[in-house]
């Protein structure tokens, strides 16, 4: 039997009627039409479904939607400001860190969650913090450079937490 779940997604409050076994990633994609979050392995082993919940990067395939009741969720759709990309997204574009793009939403959100907490990371810290996001195309080098680049852009813009 369905139950009503309230959650805020990208700053917008939503009310959805869901069956209890459904996961956050399914509801984001299928009920709310936010297909930017991808399903890779469905087991928490690839990071493609990474979203930010109450400030923390998590695998949306492992969170039951009922556990997201009352929480604030940020998906990739929530980063750009209209037509203006978020500095992390722009850095990914500028640095050639996107090939097929499948890992990119999760990768960018992992980066955002970390930079919100540590605005000035070392390369090693960046590599450790994206270790939960697999990329089959890029070999990670340009992704790491993009995240470091983004950290500088964010600091210059004076936006430590956005």
């Amino acid at each position: 039997m369905k139950r009503i779940i309230e959650l805020s997604v990208n700053g917008v409050p939503h009310e959805v009627a869901v069956e209890p076994h459904r996961t956050l990633v399914e509801v984001l994609r299928e009920d709310l039409g936010l297909t930017g979050t991808k399903v890779g392995c469905g087991e928490g082993d690839c990071g493609a479904c990474t979203v930010i919940v109450d400030g923390k990067a998590i695998n949306a395939c492992l969170m039951l939607v009922v556990q997201a009741q009352g929480r604030e969720v940020t998906t990739i759709e929530g980063l750009a400001d209209g037509e203006v990309l978020h500095p992390i997204q722009q850095a990914f574009v500028d640095r050639g860190a996107i090939q097929c793009g499948f890992c990119s939403p999760g990768m960018i959100l992992s980066a955002k969650a970390y930079l919100d907490w540590n605005p000035n990371p070392t390369e090693e810290e960046v590599r450790d913090q994206i270790a939960g996001n697999l990329c089959r195309c890029t070999g990670y080098q340009k992704i790491v450079e993009a995240v470091l680049d983004a950290s500088k852009r964010l600091q210059e813009a004076g936006r430590g937490v956005s």
Binding site: P20, I58, C61, L62, M63, L64, A131, G132
Partner: protein
């Protein structure tokens, strides 16, 4: 992904949670972070009809220091919370080292300490530290509660003494004696998203800051059906001065205490080789910390 259906209840207190478990005995499973359970349900290896989610039971989260210096953990405390805890870093560094490694940053934001112990994998990274630190688990049911020593909690891969209607309520660590140092080291195929191939937790207490060993405890992970104490190695260390030769002898002795098998992540022979390397490294770090000159 939605092929498997189940119902979910979200109690707000421990009492409600244990009542749900009692009412649905055998058909209910506890879910905290869900990082193991949801995978098992999708793989078909577990099929509970009801999940009792702990996400609203606030009393099950958090790390508290007791007046005697011990630490008490709510089992729903996440790996990320342990990894970020200054209290744990200072008092139980081996536990922090185990929790900091497992999964990935995203998984650690969901995975819980209690889940790691209750899932009882031989590779569980919080288990060897819990064993050497003499952690005590409190299990609660509708009928009351009971305590179990960490070392007696796991009985086999995926098996514990916890009954289906029992909830792990707290994990308590006693204060450590002076001149005690500890560490956890492991070897894995990758830095993340992999499970431990072999691990060693070591805890040593010296008679004085520069003195000989009063007592040593070593627990090995992933080399037996449950994490096991390397008692031969421990006996080699008691009363001795902690020099390189003594550590090397103890590390060698620990190999005989291990009972690894061949599996897809490593052969038994490789794991035995790693036992010797990791026990020596864990002891070296533990001694440096006991003497106060390590980090």
């Amino acid at each position: 992904m939605t092929a498997v259906r189940f119902d979910v209840v979200q109690p707000e207190t421990v009492e409600e949670a244990v009542r749900s478990l009692a009412d649905h005995k055998g058909e209910a499973a506890v879910v905290a972070g869900g990082t193991d359970l949801l995978r098992e349900i999708r793989a078909g290896t577990r099929s509970p009809r009801l999940l009792v989610s702990l996400d609203r039971v606030e009393s099950l989260s958090g790390i508290r220091e007791e007046p005697d210096g011990g630490l008490v953990f709510g089992p729903a405390t996440t790996m990320a919370e342990i990894a970020a805890s200054d209290l744990v870093r200072r008092k139980l560094p081996a536990l922090l080292e185990g929790a900091s490694w497992m999964g990935s940053p995203q998984v650690r934001n969901l995975a819980t300490f209690g889940g790691n112990l209750c899932n009882a994998r031989p590779c569980a990274d919080t288990a060897p530290p819990s064993f050497v630190y003499d952690a005590v688990l409190v299990l609660r049911s509708a009928g009351g509660d009971r305590t179990v020593e960490a070392g007696a909690f796991m009985t086999g891969p995926g098996e514990t003494v916890r009954a289906p209607d029992e909830l792990l309520e707290t994990i308590r660590f006693p204060a450590l004696p002076a001149h005690t140092g500890s560490a956890y080291v492991n070897v894995t195929n990758r830095k993340a998203l992999e499970i431990t191939i072999t691990s060693a937790a070591a805890r040593v207490t010296l008679k004085s800051r520069k003195g000989p060993i009063r007592e040593a405890r070593i627990c090995l992970g992933s080399v037996a059906p449950v994490p096991i104490r390397a008692s031969t190695a421990e006996a080699e260390l008691t009363g001795k001065a902690p020099d390189a030769e003594v550590l090397a002898m103890a590390a060698k002795a620990a190999v005989a205490d291990s009972r690894p098998i061949d599996d897809l992540r490593g052969s038994a022979r490789y794991r035995q080789w790693m036992v010797e390397v990791l026990v020596r490294r864990a002891l070296e770090k533990a001694f440096a910390r006991a003497r106060g000159d390590g980090s």
